[in-house]
């Protein structure tokens, strides 16, 4: 394997929310939901994004505008080129058969679980955002439980509040989640309380993406190759989860 970006042309762009766009490009190769790719803008930087769409040989990344890199990416037009390398990491493990599961996306974390939600049968899909205009993929699934912190749409409260209610009513075999780490930690605790297996995708600053630089450490686990998806059993031995992260310089800070 050669770890270098491959140049692709952006073939479509979709405005998802006022601050998030999906960029579509031709993509060949295997992809497990939850894996990520490194997106390169020459002479700028290269950063990690999950594939939020994969359909035959077209894939998409849904990008929230934050700092320098994502702002530059948002200026790209159809026909412009970007580099892609990967996919990297260990994705979600799907459950076969008809067991009930719940898939929870918080904010842009929804992008990470979107392809999982396409594939996993008999899943309750829950999405939360601060406010209605930030909700993603509103018409993508047959059914989705939506919540907003400000109550502007759907359930008023956090995904964890709603999940707590759902867990009382359904017999979930597994709960999947991606979103802010504070939310993931609460989902993890809730799952432990109810003896439900959980899988969460966590974020750390990524450089190499293939397990050599040590930048993405979380308690001795490399997010980029041992994760980004970890299950309850893994998380039990990861005291940094929900507590500390490592910045671009390598400095440990509280979450």
């Amino acid at each position: 394997m050669i770890e270098q970006p491959k140049i692709v042309k952006i073939c479509d762009i979709k405005d998802e929310t006022p601050n998030a766009k999906t960029f579509f490009f031709e993509y060949m190769g295997h992809y497990d939901p939850g894996q990520f790719v490194m997106v390169w803008i020459p002479l700028n930087d290269e950063k990690p994004f999950t594939l939020s769409y994969i359909n035959r040989n077209i894939a998409g990344i849904t990008v929230l505008k934050r700092g320098n890199f994502t702002k530059t990416l948002h200026t790209k037009k159809i026909g412009d080129q970007i580099g892609i390398r990967g996919p990297y990491g260990r994705g979600y493990s799907l459950i076969k058969g008809n067991a009930a599961t719940c898939i929870v996306g918080g904010g842009i974390g929804m992008a990470s679980i979107a392809c999982l939600a396409d594939k996993q049968e008999n899943a309750t899909i829950v999405q939360g955002s601060r406010t209605m205009p930030e909700l993603l993929f509103r018409h993508r699934y047959k059914e989705m439980r939506l919540c907003t912190d400000d109550g502007s749409f759907g359930y008023k409260g956090t995904t964890v509040d709603l999940l707590r209610e759902l867990v009382g009513k359904h017999d979930y075999q597994k709960i999947y989640a991606c979103g802010p780490e504070k939310m993931l930690y609460k989902v993890y605790e809730l799952c432990n309380e109810h003896h439900i297996e959980c899988e969460v995708s966590i974020e750390r600053y990524i450089k190499c993406g293939f397990g050599i630089c040590g930048q993405c450490d979380c308690s001795g686990q490399r997010i980029c190759i041992d994760g980004p998806v970890f299950n309850s059993k893994d998380l039990k031995d990861m005291p940094d989860f929900g507590k500390t992260e490592i910045t671009k310089s390598g400095k440990r800070i509280s979450l």
Partner: protein, 306 residues
């Protein structure tokens, strides 16, 4: 099965086997050092630490090509104050831990060495050989015999720990530099750092791939050069050598020992063979030794010389 001895004595540090995690690979946190020790490394080196925090170069910082790896991480590190907090209770790591210190002037090397002096490191490595970070290594003239002598002496004055000076394969006067380090009181030589710098251009975008455009070349491409450097340095100095460059199998490690190394550093091999490359290399070395009638790894050191 014959009892094969892999343990080595490196400047009075006992290593259960001769494999060492090279600096800059996974050595960012205490937890990762511990994991690498659990994967069989005989010693582990932390990622190089400077006085102040550094974010390093923009991505891409590490890429691979047909013959190896090329990186321009740019010495990202949290600075000595944070490093001191991160690297504690080193005895519990399960293998000796080597510090790696960098600076832009003699005084910074000294400050970092002092800052880490209470942390329980078993040795200090001083790379004077990075080919892709302005202010440090080759890009600031630290790879000359004089600079090597001055920096090594300055650190020697303030520590009793063994000092390994890490040298570049990309300078012609490599034996003179190694000799200068020895004269200044270095306890050993780490040979070698990455070579180059090299460049990879993406021909579709027509731009260099690395964020810093150029970077140090490591892995398979580096091995024959590293073996030659160790072979030459072995003849030039009396202090022990840690051989580094392109080692990912037991055969590679044995080749490096035969050139004159007492122990071997492994970096890129963590990528090519996985994080348990250390135990794999050890098992392969043992196998080769059994097949070839050796029972003590130390008997292999330098035997390629006439």
């Amino acid at each position: 099965m014959t009892d094969v001895k892999l343990s080595v004595n490196l400047c009075n540090i006992r290593l259960s086997n001769p494999t060492i995690l090279a600096s800059g690979i996974l050595g960012t946190t205490r937890a990762l050092l511990k994991r690498v020790a659990e994967c069989g490394a005989g010693a582990v080196t932390i990622k190089s630490i400077s006085k102040e925090a550094r974010e390093g170069h923009n991505n891409p910082t590490v890429i691979t090509y047909e013959a190896g790896m090329i990186n321009a991480v740019g010495y990202s590190n949290p600075g000595v104050e944070s490093a001191r907090i991160e690297f504690t209770n080193l005895k519990e790591i399960g293998a000796p831990v080597f510090a790696s210190i960098i600076g832009t002037c003699n005084d910074e090397f000294v400050k970092v060495a002092e800052g880490l002096s209470e942390s329980g490191f078993s040795a200090i490595e001083i790379p004077l050989s990075c080919p892709h970070t302005p202010g440090f290594g080759l890009l600031s003239g630290q790879g000359t015999p004089k600079a090597t002598y001055d920096i090594t002496s300055a650190v020697r004055r303030i520590t009793h720990l063994p000092i390994f000076v890490k040298i570049s394969p990309s300078i012609p006067e490599i034996t003179t530099v190694a000799k200068a380090a020895e004269d200044a009181g270095a306890s050993g030589i780490t040979a070698v750092n990455s070579m180059g710098p090299g460049m990879i251009i993406n021909i579709e975008s027509k731009k260099p791939v690395l964020g810093f455009k150029v970077g140090g070349v490591t892995g398979d491409a580096l091995r024959p050069i590293a073996v030659r450097c160790v072979y030459d340095v072995y003849k030039a100095v009396k202090i022990p050598i840690i051989g580094v460059g392109g080692i990912s199998t037991g055969r590679h490690a044995i080749e490096m020992l035969m050139a004159g190394a007492v122990a071997v550093g492994i970096g890129t091999g963590v990528y090519t063979r996985g994080i348990d490359v250390f135990s794999k290399v050890c098992a392969e070395m043992k196998q080769w030794m059994i097949e070839n009638g050796y029972n003590n790894i130390n008997d292999l050191v330098g035997i390629a010389h006439d």
